[in-house]
Symmetry: C2
């Protein structure tokens, strides 16, 4: 039984589900088991094009995936507005959850998901892939090193990509009824997560959105930025946008060291990833930053799927409890996201971050 | 006569004057000619230790330097609070000016300096060395390239260094009566200049300081940040601090390209300097950024002195008018700096940038 792979069922045929299907296929402890779409034809086509094994179950509804007793994990890449409905239903059916980000339209919705997961003893994880790259742990080693990095004082995070005209008119991420959090929910999620990650998930006290966000006619944010302030004086800023060249940066600055990474969301290369560090350099002393290179056999999305399957197996076969870290950091990310949105809506006033 | 080097006189013996003395010595069209200090002994010691030629004039006052008819350019590394007095006096004595930054405590003071320079037909330049590195022109080529970079949408600039306990207690940059603009005037100056440089010196419409600046008991800013907003939707952010590891970043993001530089103020190496660029990469397309390496025989501070001397020779020997670009960009930098300070004083309200 120990070798039985964890069986994934996918709700819908979203673009991101193609990448995730490949990741499930590549993950040694996971297998593509089912896909459901409101259109059986679309589900068949998706399964055929995305490496599902011949034995995979193809369903003409999302419900059928949830009702299949052999599905262990449900992957939910549906629009954010549908998350609470399907995630709660899946957890009631005792399915472990891999939920795309942003996890919900707001933290109140997300709390319904977390409660359902806790009540049903299922593992929750969101689809933030970069968290699982081995580079991320190496970067944290540097940030945790009081000799090389000192104490974190400020972080800047940036995520933009240039949506074309079709994206900016028709993508679900610009539609209020679908992914209504727009660029803040899509790109800003990563920025906020990276900032929380760097602070060891210490919530900021207040958030103040920057003036000048871009908001479309339907009220969806297409670009915005924010400052974050912590009780102890730490600060952070981020900027997210659908309008500019693909850029994914974290700059973390401590009392003794600095970390730069320019491809934190998707590494420039699949098998190697790097970040640069520099420590305790006085002004006018000349020294070059260190390039830290990490090699990995598995892409970060495969690492993510494998980690989720490891936790699921441990629950199923070892009687472990679900790992609470993952829903906890999803919730904190959503809390900060909600505060940024509230600050924009309140005319860029500072907003206390909820708990 | 064409080979006569431009003769520099230095007011005071500040630390930065050591670096500048070396630059003047290395500059082919410039020569160290005089130094004045309130203490003749200090002036003698400074001249002996900083490569002044035996013929150099050593004075026991600043006035004596200004009264020497053979001094062409006066370099003013005095505390900011003394700039307006000595810069105006120097220009009245027909001395061209190399003035340390921040150029004044506020733009009203700086306007007195500019008026005096204009009335007396002398060249003004501030001591922002990185502007003169050949890399800076190469970076501007990229930012101006509508194919590789597109149109500038956002810029982030960062400058911090870690002052030790002695610096934080005793340096003139933490004293309200001396360099009363603190980290904003010292480090923030560079951030603001880099942002204006990237926008081709288009002034932002409004400036909103970030919450959470660090201000000492005497009211001097030790760390702060700000957002800037332009009429056309461009945005920028910067952060400056006396508390964190030496970090000097510009990130400029356009519709089609991104530029990163991590040593814009003092290059990591003296003879070569680099910046990285990446263009038109779609999400999930993998490509590595280009490393652009520029070599230079002369350090940037020597380039600065040489450019000033070239302008001065052109005025003295060719009858040219002073180059108005340099006082103009100093003034714009000061205008934005004033607005950031005003925003902090007004409780982080947005402040219109003056003209």
């Amino acid at each position: 039984m120990a070798e039985t792979p964890v069986r994934f069922g996918i709700l819908g045929c979203a673009g991101i589900a193609q990448k995730q299907s490949k990741a499930i296929t590549l993950s040694p402890n996971s297998t593509l088991y089912a896909v459901g779409s409101r259109s059986l034809e679309k589900a068949k086509k998706f399964a055929a094009e995305n490496g599902f094994p011949p034995s995979a179950k193809i369903y003409g509804s999302y419900e059928a995936v949830l009702d299949d007793p052999d599905v262990d994990v449900v992957y939910v890449p549906l629009p954010t507005s549908l998350h609470v409905q399907w995630a709660v239903l899946a957890s009631k059916k005792k399915k472990h959850l891999l939920l795309e980000k942003p996890v919900a339209l707001n933290v109140a919705e997300f709390d319904q998901i977390v409660e359902a997961c806790e009540a049903n003893g299922v593992q929750f994880m969101d689809g933030t892939m970069w968290m699982h790259h081995p580079r991320t742990a190496k970067m944290m080693e540097f940030l945790s090193d009081t000799e090389r990095f000192g104490h974190l004082k400020t972080i800047h995070s940036f995520f933009s990509f240039a949506g074309d005209d079709n994206f900016l008119k028709n993508d679900i991420r610009v539609k209020p009824g679908l992914d209504g959090l727009g660029a803040l929910g899509d790109a800003g999620w990563y920025c906020i997560r990276s900032i929380l990650w760097a602070t060891n998930y210490e919530l900021p006290k207040t958030v103040t959105a920057h003036r000048g966000p871009v908001i479309n006619e339907a009220g969806v944010i297409l670009a915005c930025g924010s400052s974050l302030q912590w009780e102890d004086g730490k600060t952070a800023t981020f900027h997210c946008s659908f309008f500019t060249n693909l850029t994914t940066d974290i700059t973390a600055v401590g009392t003794k060291g600095t970390l730069h990474v320019h491809d934190f969301i998707v590494p420039f290369e699949e098998k190697t990833a790097s970040f640069s560090t520099i420590s305790q350099i006085r002004f006018a002393e000349r020294a070059l930053p260190s390039q830290n290179v990490i090699t990995t056999d598995l892409p970060q999305e495969v690492c993510m799927v494998s980690e989720l399957s490891r936790l699921v197996k441990s629950i199923k076969e070892g009687g472990s409890k679900p790992e609470s870290k993952w829903p906890s950091i999803s919730r904190k990310t959503q809390l900060v996201l909600d505060a940024v949105k509230a600050s924009i809506e309140k005319g860029f006033e500072p907003v206390q971050v909820g708990v």
